[in-house]
């Protein structure tokens, strides 16, 4: 009989066989730095709009295939988006409108290095 829910979450990899860990340094894209900075601002103690624990929960709740497919900061921004909607900071409608607006922009704008 299979378990009704997994005892071990997909992200919980400690002790499982895995390949070698890349030890080299790597640069972050501008959007990745922005996501990191956004999280710092959102968790400021004086106006905490979400918690780091919510960030973790959102990441760890990703379906296994999405978790594997997404990059580190893609998981972050997915989770931040979920938490801000849950906490009533933004609505799904607002998010949809903003995404539409961004899609109408010329491809080059909004990108900087």
């Amino acid at each position: 009989m299979s378990e009704p829910f997994p005892e071990r979450s997909h992200h919980d990899l400690g002790g499982l066989p895995a390949g070698p860990i890349p030890q080299g340094e790597h640069d972050y894209a501008l959007w990745e730095k922005r996501v990191d900075a956004l999280m710092v601002l959102l968790t400021k103690p004086d106006q905490e709009l979400m918690t780091v624990d919510q960030l973790r929960k959102g990441i760890e709740s990703l379906p296994p295939d999405a978790y594997d497919r997404m990059s580190y900061y893609e998981r972050w921004i997915y989770s931040i988006t979920q938490a801000l909607q849950h906490n009533g900071v933004i609505t799904t409608t607002e998010l949809g409108q903003k995404l539409e607006e961004l899609q109408r922009r010329p491809a080059s704008s909004g990108e900087s290095t």
Partner: protein
């Protein structure tokens, strides 16, 4: 909430996996270790994760485990250890525990 365990106390990690946001890694559940230090009280992250900003503060411990107890096929030196930070509600006293309150 004063800590239930002292430094040096022998503790076992509860071997449970309820569906929720768990801050104890799977590999250490059910293992026995010794309290290395008391890190202090922190709001329960397993409740903070669901948006309860007023979650109770609970003691956090750093617990030391022998590597060869955790991994049956561990082939490193006998004295190798791993420290894991664990919240009090994940810990229970062991029968050889002389320090538990």
């Amino acid at each position: 909430m004063s800590p239930r365990f002292e430094v040096g106390a022998s503790v076992r990690v509860r071997n449970v996996s309820p569906p929720g946001h768990l801050r104890t890694p799977f590999y250490i559940r059910g293992c026995q270790g010794v309290v290395e230090r008391i890190c202090g009280p922190y709001r329960n992250p397993e409740e903070l994760a669901y948006g309860n900003r007023q979650a109770d503060r609970v003691p956090l411990y750093r617990v030391r485990f022998a590597q060869h107890h955790i991994w049956p096929d561990y082939c490193g030196p006998e004295q190798d250890t791993v420290d894991v930070e664990l919240y009090e509600f994940w810990l229970e006293p062991t029968s050889e525990n002389a320090h538990a309150a």
